[in-house]
Symmetry: C2
Subunit: 210 residues, 2 copies
DNA sequence: AAAACTATGTAACAATTGTTACTTAGTGCG
DNA sequence: CGCACTAAGTAACAATTGTTACATAGTTTT
């Protein structure tokens, strides 16, 4: 049995399902920055996260990007789910935020287990709900927040998934993720620093007000 | 058998499932402007649209609103789906855009049929996928488009679901849906009129460039 | 018809965000 | 050390969006 499987999903799934997952799933470990899914990729397997974190981005025709949310251990990627169904192309990009371990499940098992295991059905529907909620939160941020609050929220979220109040990031990185420009981000970060909420360093930012 | 059922969902579902829907579903007709779901409502049944259209809005703590998308006949509301599962509160508002006919299905049938009918499972998963895609498109609009393009897209979408190139709407209505202010919308509409894309009238707008 | 209400037009100005351009500081490397 | 490169600070200005205030026009009520 894959070591991390029982410990991450044992409380959710019965032993029989855990065995099924163990038999058909393949273990995978990817380094920080690894591109798991690219725009337009066809998806043939769905990932179950056992450790680390993945950031999910939206990209438009012009190549402009926007961070949607992070997924962490115990989560799966609902986009993958819906893409799997109709063998559709991915509408998002997935990049490892940290070193990440995952178990890949072949698509066809997904709907098979849906009938076989009530716990799997719940897991899939719950995942859809969680991802939907995160998309709504992403919308809240873009639609209702000003850029300074978005930057601060971004820093806190990033500190959260990295389990560290010092995050390694450049102003340019933040600008890409928030679909803004480096100069704007630098300006707002400086204000946040003056307000005593963060500490700026080269290539890193410490969040004080967590 | 509910008349509109077979004609709207006959190509999707087998007769046995249509019968089940007919037996447990209740037919409902609501007028334009009717609030189907309010923020925080507990949802006990899911709607299958047979005619008309519903607009789905997000609202923040301050009461600011934002139009997410429209759903039309043949669709169901995926938010409802995910809310149903865990008896969770609604995170969105649903208002009838036109007179709308729907069939309400009790929650517990949803997961029961998931195993019983493969076509129902596909329908539910496809619905999640569709709604996810529409949330992503909503994000594209807010994140990547300027307000003038958002206004024009809004008008075209609204003309689409109303099956009419003349839409009945005030500038203030548009401002609410796009989370902007009336003056901004009036200004941009006037520009669109000067560009020959629309015609402005009191309480209505005609879209020329459809 | 006068009054009250609602919708729209528009000007002037403020706030936010984006852009360009240049400077300064840290880092890596021959 | 000198050079190249990357990150960050900052000023000046432009574009977009939001706000306030008021005028005008159509509609409804009395």
């Amino acid at each position: 049995m894959i070591k991390e499987l029982k410990e991450n999903y044992g409380f959710l799934f019965e032993d029989e399902l855990l065995n099924d997952i163990n038999n058909v799933g393949t273990f995978k470990e990817v380094p920080e920055g690894f591109t798991l899914i690219n725009l337009g990729d066809y998806i043939k397997s769905m990932p179950l996260l056992v450790s680390g974190a993945i950031k999910i981005l939206r990209e438009d025709e012009k190549g402009d990007e926007l961070l949607l949310y992070f997924i962490e251990r115990g989560d799966t990627c609902a986009m993958t789910l819906s893409c799997c169904m109709g063998q559709k192309k991915s509408e998002i990009i997935a990049i490892a935020e940290t070193t990440t371990k995952l178990i890949m499940i072949p698509v066809e098992k997904m709907s098979e287990w849906m009938c076989k295991y009530k716990s799997w059905q719940n897991f899939i529907l719950q995942s859809y709900h969680d991802r939907m909620t995160e998309l709504l939160e992403a919308i809240d941020s873009i639609a209702f927040l000003k850029m300074n609050d978005r930057v601060f929220k971004y820093l806190k979220d990033k500190a959260m998934v990295n389990h560290n109040d010092v995050i390694t990031v450049t102003h340019q990185d933040i600008a890409f993720d928030l679909h803004s420009s480096r100069v704007v981000i630098s300006r707002l970060l400086k204000t946040l620093e003056n307000e005593g909420k963060i500490e700026l360093h080269r290539n890193s930012i410490k969040i004080l007000d967590l």
